[in-house]
Symmetry: C2
Subunit: 199 residues, 2 copies
């Protein structure tokens, strides 16, 4: 009896602490990995094809979109990004839980293409706290901070199709909740119904 991995889609506003929570939750676990995206942008010094990204040209990117080879994709002014379906499915079949850190729009595409995906939204304890964290980072202009807050409010309205919400008021607690979600999802009755009936 082999067990497939779960596709874990993680979203949430910039400043919610998504990466910190995910890294804390998967610390010391060998059954969780991040997905590797395709991108049309050029590799930066030190970036390795197939590690940070799969670097591809626009022609190949659009071919992948046409052939439904991407679980989700986003096209920006200068570059395109996407999640390669074959890569993700291979890791899942190997039993790996695969993490996708993507925006709400991309998550909506994944939900349609992979009904078994688990959608998790990580939110800060409040928008006031989010603003405090964004200012504390000191990396954004005033305009960028206000833009991120508007974006967060918008995502809160759009995120109603997610399965889980983790409120990151304490990283340890949030990481524990993420770990519990992964464990619980591996007990989904539907995944074991055939096993049970043939038992």
């Amino acid at each position: 009896m082999s067990e497939k991995g779960k596709l874990l889609v993680i979203s949430g506003p910039s400043g919610a602490g998504k990466s910190t929570v995910v890294f804390k939750a998967i610390e010391g676990r060998s059954d969780v990995c991040f997905s590797t995206s395709v991108t049309t942008r050029s590799p930066r010094p030190g970036e390795v094809d197939g590690r940070e990204y799969f670097f591809i040209d626009f022609k190949r990117f659009h071919e992948m979109v046409e052939n439904d080879e991407l679980l989700e994709h986003a096209e920006y002014v200068t570059n395109c990004y996407g999640t390669p379906r074959a890569y993700v499915e291979q890791r899942l079949n190997e039993g790996m839980n695969v993490v996708l850190d993507i925006e709400v729009l991309g998550a909506r595409q994944v939900r349609k293409k992979m009904p078994g995906a688990v959608l998790i939204f990580i939110a800060p304890p409040s928008l006031i706290e989010l603003e405090r964290r964004l200012r504390g980072r000191g990396t954004d202009t005033e305009e960028a901070i206000l833009g991120r807050l508007t974006r967060a409010r918008q995502e809160y309205q759009e995120a109603n199709f997610y399965d889980y919400l983790i409120i990151n008021d304490d990283v340890e607690k949030a990481a524990k909740q993420l770990g519990a979600i992964i464990e619980a999802e591996h007990c989904r009755f539907a995944d074991w119904a055939d096993w049970l009936r043939s038992n």
Copy 2:
């Protein structure tokens, strides 16, 4: 912000180790309790009304059925049993997670009346192992053992509406999975959608 408890419906064949798993999982937790059933049978020496059971007469039982005051009920040849809705809802509103240890037929009734209930089936690693455990207990006749095995096979076919399956091949692991399910279910997006939107 107060958080309601979850109604946890636990089923599984006799000999699967349900009680052991549940007791191990809730050890030291003050946020999980068992429900108290109503019954028409007489109290045994030492049993206290409202502790082991709420002891009621047939007239009151049938009134409760008529008035939809029971989340599920079963009528046997000599006695009737049921889960009182008001009692369960009161505990849930207090923030307690309430455990119901009931059969598959009862669970189907609960699913209809409490859509938010979490249905968990606990199974032994195999029917061969179940038979071994039942014989090991030495409490059942040969006929009873065969009856229990037939009943288990039947429940496996009927249980397809459960949310989770825990395979009890190791009590520690099974208890950990039950704990994870409780934790994960408290992160259900739907339960927090209003909070998020008003945040």
